[in-house]
């Protein structure tokens, strides 16, 4: 669909006269960052919101206010923690993206979609349960990696000691170098051994570094999953990946997020999935690939402007990602 076609459909979008599929196409176009359409849509929606002003006003029943006030039981003075959680759960909506129409509630959806949602909710339940299992697995996994790290460190230390001893021998041999061919041959042999030891030591150091990194990552995940502040956002599959879904766990305080996507279509060669946080415009939150189970995982650090993100979306982009979305939207979720 060309830009002109999207622009042409904006009046129908604003007044709610498009069907679901057409709405989603426009959502995807807006997510791609078309500023012309954003600004036109804002005006159409501002006009639409004023239509009700032409109706002859009717006062609500007198007792309604009492009913509402009685039902509005106090989050009167929420504690600071609860306030933070509230902000994390419902960050303030940003500019154009908030002009996208409110998503339909479950009461108005097609039975097939309802069934799909049931599956998604079951998935959420399963995922919540599996997070607990993952936490336990991460804890024991971390212990195993920690043991391997200690072993690797011990081996590297032994190698280092061996290397130092050989170097002392080498110095002695060099001092005797004038003594003849036998010593020179021994010297060459020792040099070769030392080169091998240096290679082995470098390998161990590399292994140790990888293990250290793994321990650090597991520690990070453990802290993250144990945090009481972590919130979950679900992302639903769009037209190109109806069976796909994802969860994004995020912690406003640490600005970290963990993304877990599933049933994602396999990536063609030279392509990657890219996660976008929608603030005033889409901001890249990183790229990820999928494993054999069509799952994608990613840890995001320093999530930008978390307080004002309202949407997350995943698009397919050329390898390495792009500064702004250029490909089709596969997943989208609203806070």
């Amino acid at each position: 669909m060309a830009h002109e076609e999207f622009e042409d459909a904006l009046p129908l979008y604003a007044i709610g006269a498009l069907n679901r599929q057409e709405r989603q196409s426009i959502d995807a176009h807006l997510l791609a960052g078309c500023t012309v359409c954003h600004s036109a849509l804002r005006e159409y929606q501002a006009a639409t919101a004023r239509l009700a002003h032409a109706l002859p006003l009717t006062s609500p029943p007198a007792e309604l206010k009492d009913r509402i006030m009685a039902a509005a039981v106090a989050p009167a003075a929420p504690p600071e923690t609860a306030k933070r959680q509230e902000r994390a759960a419902a960050p303030e909506p940003p500019a154009w993206i908030r002009h996208i129409q409110p998503p339909p509630t479950t009461r108005m959806i097609h039975p097939a979609l309802a069934a799909m949602l049931v599956i998604v909710f079951m998935g959420v339940g399963y995922y919540a349960w599996s997070l607990q299992a993952q936490l336990a697995a991460l804890t024991s996994g971390r212990e195993r990696v920690e043991a391997a790290l200690q072993e690797a460190t011990a081996r590297a230390t032994a190698l280092q000691r061996d290397l130092e001893a050989r170097q002392v021998q080498m110095a002695a041999l060099r001092a005797q170098a004038h003594a003849g061919d036998t010593t020179r041959t021994q010297l060459a042999d020792r040099e070769q051994e030392i080169a091998q030891l240096r290679g082995a030591l470098a390998e161990r150091e590399m292994e140790t570094n990888i293990l250290r990194k793994t321990v650090a990552q597991r520690d990070e995940m453990l802290t993250f999953l144990r945090s009481a502040q972590v919130k979950v956002v679900s992302l639903a599959g769009m037209e190109r990946a109806r069976g796909a879904g994802a969860f994004l766990l995020y912690d406003q305080d640490s600005k970290k997020a963990f993304f877990y996507g599933f049933n994602l279509p396999p990536l063609p060669a030279g392509k990657t999935y890219q996660l976008w946080a929608i603030v005033n415009r889409p901001i890249s939150a990183g790229t990820f690939a999928t494993d054999h189970g069509s799952k994608g995982r990613m840890i995001i650090r320093n999530l930008p402007e978390l307080g004002s993100i309202t949407k997350f979306a995943v698009s397919m982009e050329p390898e390495g990602g792009r500064p702004q979305p250029t490909g089709d939207i596969y997943l989208a979720g609203q806070l």
């Binding site: 498009l18 029943p61 206010k65 303030e92 909506p93 339909p104 009461r107």
Partner: protein, 195 residues
């Protein structure tokens, strides 16, 4: 409690919503006084049943009470936000009950609400936001009937262009054109209200 609702778009300030978000019951009460006549009118226009409109309003206000932190001044006026929320929830309801389309409504300024309107006119009609009301009413009166009808069916009945075309036995293209033309004119003529 203020027993004289003076709905006014300009008087529902972002600050008031901010106070509601912090759990200020006085602010919540004030918000209700200022906005409920228009929101109830809108709900009634869509749902056509007074009890259900009241029930919907309760749902909307409680949602606002719990979630009004979602409001952001950059997205438009607080009143526009409340209107979008109310309309959206009301359309959900008519879709759920499946009774929409019982009758063709071809007006953007009467039916449902007018049919059960209070005898006691709201003070709103006499004061605040009268200018907006005048501009909107005039803008709508300048639209051809067919365009007004298409807009009403989309906005108040929640019908898509294909459903409107079926309902009116008109080609889909014709309905799309009517909506586009009507909306384009409203966009221009209502601009003074949101600039």
């Amino acid at each position: 409690m203020d027993s004289h609702p003076r709905h006014a778009e300009s008087t529902v300030s972002p600050d008031l919503l901010g106070r509601v978000a912090k759990g200020d019951r006085d602010a919540f009460s004030r918000l209700y006084d200022l906005s409920s006549p228009l929101l109830f009118t809108l709900a009634l226009r869509i749902l056509k049943e007074r009890d259900e409109a009241a029930d919907l309003l309760q749902e909307v206000y409680l949602e606002v009470w719990k979630k009004s932190v979602r409001y952001d001044p950059r997205r438009g006026s607080p009143m526009a936000w409340l209107i979008v929320l109310t309309r959206s929830r009301a359309i959900d309801r008519i879709r759920t009950r499946g009774t929409r389309g019982a009758k063709i409504t071809d007006s953007l300024d009467e039916t449902g609400a007018a049919a059960v309107a209070d005898d006691d006119p709201s003070p709103y009609e006499q004061r605040a936001d009268a200018e907006t009301r005048t501009i909107v009413t005039k803008a709508l009166s300048e639209l051809p009937d067919a365009q007004r009808q298409a807009l009403a069916l989309a906005y108040y009945e929640g019908l898509s262009h294909t459903e409107i075309a079926e309902r009116l036995s008109e080609p889909v293209g014709t309905i799309k054109t009517r909506i586009k033309l009507g909306m384009s004119k409203l966009r221009v003529s209502l601009k003074p209200c949101f600039e």
